[in-house]
């Protein structure tokens, strides 16, 4: 359920970020889109922490046999998570540069690219049992 909410929040954040082009909506738009981007980032982080292998980004970079350090490296090596983090930071930076009206548009375009190119909340059915990320036993087997 959490990844679905994150996916919807991310899409909603893109449309809200686009609304910042109107001067009357600039400030509220920036705050609300930041909130929604942060919500979707938290949803993806939650999926990584709980090892939700129905999410492609999690299944590709995590494995149940990884140590805590391995899991952290797996999280940091996920382009989807990093891109979502970058978009959230861009959205936060937008609050600082309130005079630059196009910053909202830049943020929306960046988020759109992330959505279409990386699909951070793409799901897998059926999910892999242990994840297909790096397994500490892979080297031993090799």
């Amino acid at each position: 359920m959490i990844p679905e909410l994150g996916h919807f929040a991310f899409i909603l954040a893109i449309t809200v970020a686009l609304s910042q082009l109107h001067p009357a909506l600039s400030r509220q738009g920036a705050v609300i889109s930041l909130f929604l981007f942060a919500l979707s980032l938290l949803a993806l982080l939650w999926s990584f922490i709980t090892l939700d292998f129905t999410v492609v980004a999690v299944a590709e970079h995590m494995h149940t046999l990884q140590t805590v350090m391995g899991r952290m490296i797996g999280m940091l090596s996920s382009p989807a998570l990093l891109a979502l983090l970058a978009v959230t930071m861009l959205s936060a930076a937008r609050l600082k540069f309130t005079r630059v009206r196009l910053a909202g548009l830049v943020c929306a375009i960046a988020a759109g690219l992330v959505l279409f190119a990386l699909s951070p909340f793409e799901r897998l059915d059926p999910p892999p049992f242990d994840g297909i990320g790096y397994s500490p036993f892979a080297e031993e087997k090799a």
Binding site: M1, P3, E4, L5, H7, F8, A9, I11, L12, I14, T15, V16, L18, S19, H22, A24, L25, Q28, G29, I32, L36, T54, L115, F116, S119, F121, E122, R123, L124, D125
Partner: protein, 187 residues
């Protein structure tokens, strides 16, 4: 349903917080507020549906008619529908053959082999089932040899393919050639 409810609440709260000051205004602002509300709702829903309904990975998105995601979802849907029908008629060899073909198309070769083996046990004389099973073993052998680099498993699959495939199967010559190449490379 809970997810849809929470998503609806999220959208109502976000758009209200954004547009309420405009909508409560007068004249042009009010019109603009309502217009933006409609536009943003349509844009959000359109974008959401175009990316697929992610809480049902096998459900095709409303507006998606082509592309890898669409094909994947269609293939999964086809397989699920066949599984449903097979649950009602567990001894139907035709359904097993169709399910095996769908699984082969999805690249799930070991699962395809399993169901086609069951179909062959049901109808040992059916040539089309033996032909499909031979093709599944052949494909599994190629994947095991070329992709997974597992020569032992590939050898087993090749042996099964040669035993199962009928003499007049369209891929029989290629199978024999590939088996020779496999033997040469293995040695």
């Amino acid at each position: 349903m809970i997810v849809i409810g929470i998503c609806a609440i999220m959208m109502i709260v976000s758009l209200s917080a954004l547009l309420l000051p405009l909508m409560l205004g007068s004249g042009k602002d009010k019109m603009l507020g309502w217009a933006l509300l409609c536009l943003m709702t349509i844009a959000t829903m359109g974008l959401y549906l175009s990316r697929g309904a992610p809480y049902i990975p096998s459900a095709p998105a409303l507006f998606e008619r082509s592309g890898p995601n669409f094909d994947k979802r269609q293939a999964v849907n086809e397989e699920l529908a066949l599984l449903d029908r097979l649950a009602q008629k567990p001894d139907d060899a035709d359904l097993m053959l169709a399910l095996g073909s769908a699984r082969m198309k999805n690249g799930r070769l070991p699962q395809a082999v399993t169901i086609l083996e069951t179909a062959r046990q049901q109808k040992p004389t059916r040539k089309d089932i033996s032909e499909k099973l031979g093709a599944a073993y052949y494909a599994a052998a190629l994947v095991a040899f070329l992709v997974e680099d597992d020569t032992a498993q590939a050898g087993l699959y090749f042996d099964q393919a040669l035993q199962t495939a009928p003499a007049d199967a369209p891929y029989k010559d290629r199978l024999s050639e590939d088996y020779k190449k496999f033997q040469d490379e293995k040695d």
